[in-house]
Symmetry: D3
Subunit: 129 residues, 6 copies
């Protein structure tokens, strides 16, 4: 039986990204289904649903952090996509990434922008904003 947090996390993640729940569960199926469950329960079911910071600002924070860390391009891609889904504009995404040149160096910003470019192209192809 799914925990309340799982249900809440699934709902939140569904709102933020079309088929992310299924993809994550699919990827980890047969190897670590519990990691999929935790990823839905804790980040989405407990943290991102907290009041006190709007979803748009939360995605700004995540895109900034993943660009600065520079070692999780797959997750950065997913979070740029979710940022656009929850109302962050493309221009705002590029501004966040440019700003990371200051705090994490130009390579981090350039690599982050390459990821954003991929997201924007895919969305162009699909006719999404």
């Amino acid at each position: 039986m799914d925990s309340e947090r799982f249900i809440q996390g699934k709902k939140k993640l569904d709102q933020m990204s079309g088929n992310a729940v299924e993809t994550m569960i699919g990827n980890l199926d047969g190897i670590a289904p519990d990691l999929a469950r935790y990823t839905i329960e804790f980040p989405y079911g407990e943290i991102l649903v907290r009041p006190g910071l709007d979803t748009r600002s939360r995605q700004i924070a995540t895109v900034a952090a993943l660009t600065a860390l520079g070692n999780a391009p797959v997750q950065l891609k997913a979070h740029i996509d979710m940022a656009l889904n929850v109302g962050v504009t493309r221009q705002e995404v590029t501004e966040i990434i440019i700003q990371m040149a200051v705090y994490a160096g130009f390579p981090a910003a350039l690599n982050g922008m390459a990821v954003a470019k991929e997201v924007f192209s895919e969305r162009d192809r699909d006719g999404r904003n």
Copy 2:
């Protein structure tokens, strides 16, 4: 003669933080005054003044990134303080930092929160929000 970017950066940094310009120039005086100049010209005079992302969102991005990187507590402290100065609330700061547990681990969040606690105490002492 100061460059236009320096003048613009100094103005921006003055708006965000009382005496940060003087402190930075003082700290680097006699060792690397040009690094102080660049720090004022490029981050504050070129990046943070860009349109396309509001100052509040920019500080959310910076607090998130510095918490996640976890190796610049002095700068994180300064940027939490500036975030509060430009309209990010204390609750929002703590939410950003809690969220970093997801993307950079609990130690990063706990250490970020220790820095926030220091900032909040100092502001309490000075009767600031």
Copy 3:
């Protein structure tokens, strides 16, 4: 009312470290009590209690990771202490840290060892192994 995970996490953390629960709650009280709760619920109440890897091996993993990351000395200190509490020997702790010279460089190993030295001294003073 405390969640089951909180109760389980508190029990686990109590077994691993004398007064860590109270310290963590105390540190975050008045600033981010929810971060204290999450830290007890998720790492201790969900992850470290999982079957499939013994507690001793889990602490070996954590001491290795925090030494390698090199930016969380407070947490490394706490986890070396917990490692010793759950049956990792001092010699094993020093071996893990020496090994990190290979994977994260000599500075990471030397800084990790400085933290271990502190833990060992405090335990000597208290007459603990």
Copy 4:
């Protein structure tokens, strides 16, 4: 003439992984053969052969550290494979990686698990545990 440490390191690495020595020497041949030699002499010939921590625990430490650092997927892959060769179970590998969500964030754990998945598939294909 090979140093004693090289001979010892080669023997250790041969025990841990079928043809790793030849692969490493082949990869660095004509560019930096000394780096291959050092990698065999120091990590394998001096550190991993030390008494005081069993080989299984040493691989737990390495898999944890490389998952947490998140910027060396090739080496993580090799070390997960070696971990399985020296008696760490697949379940234990997945537990170590899940645990890294706590100390280095969910992206690090998810990316580490993707590497583990590759290793497990390749071993399935070869009929290995």
Copy 5:
């Protein structure tokens, strides 16, 4: 109209690398042209042209830093190429990278060397030193 720093940065980057300016501008065209401009103005137009450290030493510093950070292989590749263009020898490049095993661990050095190997092959193919 291009700023003086842009002109100076373009000139510097042209000297260091054949078509890097056009590539960078091309890559960021239509997504974040200002990031291309900043990358030319600040690193190349302000920092790398500073007196006080020769260009060869500057490239040694950059190759070392990017190898140690380990999360920007694209930029490392470009900077190894530029290092060779400004008089750092292949042997010196391999020495810098081997040395990073000490300060950032063997995985960082091995991954850096794989990038160097690529650069050397491409230059061999093109008949360059």
Copy 6:
């Protein structure tokens, strides 16, 4: 009996820094003397003595890398001091550190400069260059 590498490493480190060998052995005495031995044997006895890159360039590489990594201020301090001992000028040290703003962000450069400032003050006090 000391290995040849130890003798060579001790000699190299003695040339680079007055009493670093004794300090390192003293710090690790009674906790991990082998880590002191490895640190002398491998970095100083094997790597820094290699031909193919002069000592001055090697220190430029190390100061750059440790500034960029940003999590080993104690080692950065020692290596800035050694850089000055082997002929890198104060101006060159500050240039390397300023340059790291480009590759690792302004916080890394500002924190590196704070370490350099300490080294310079201590050397001023002792009447050294």
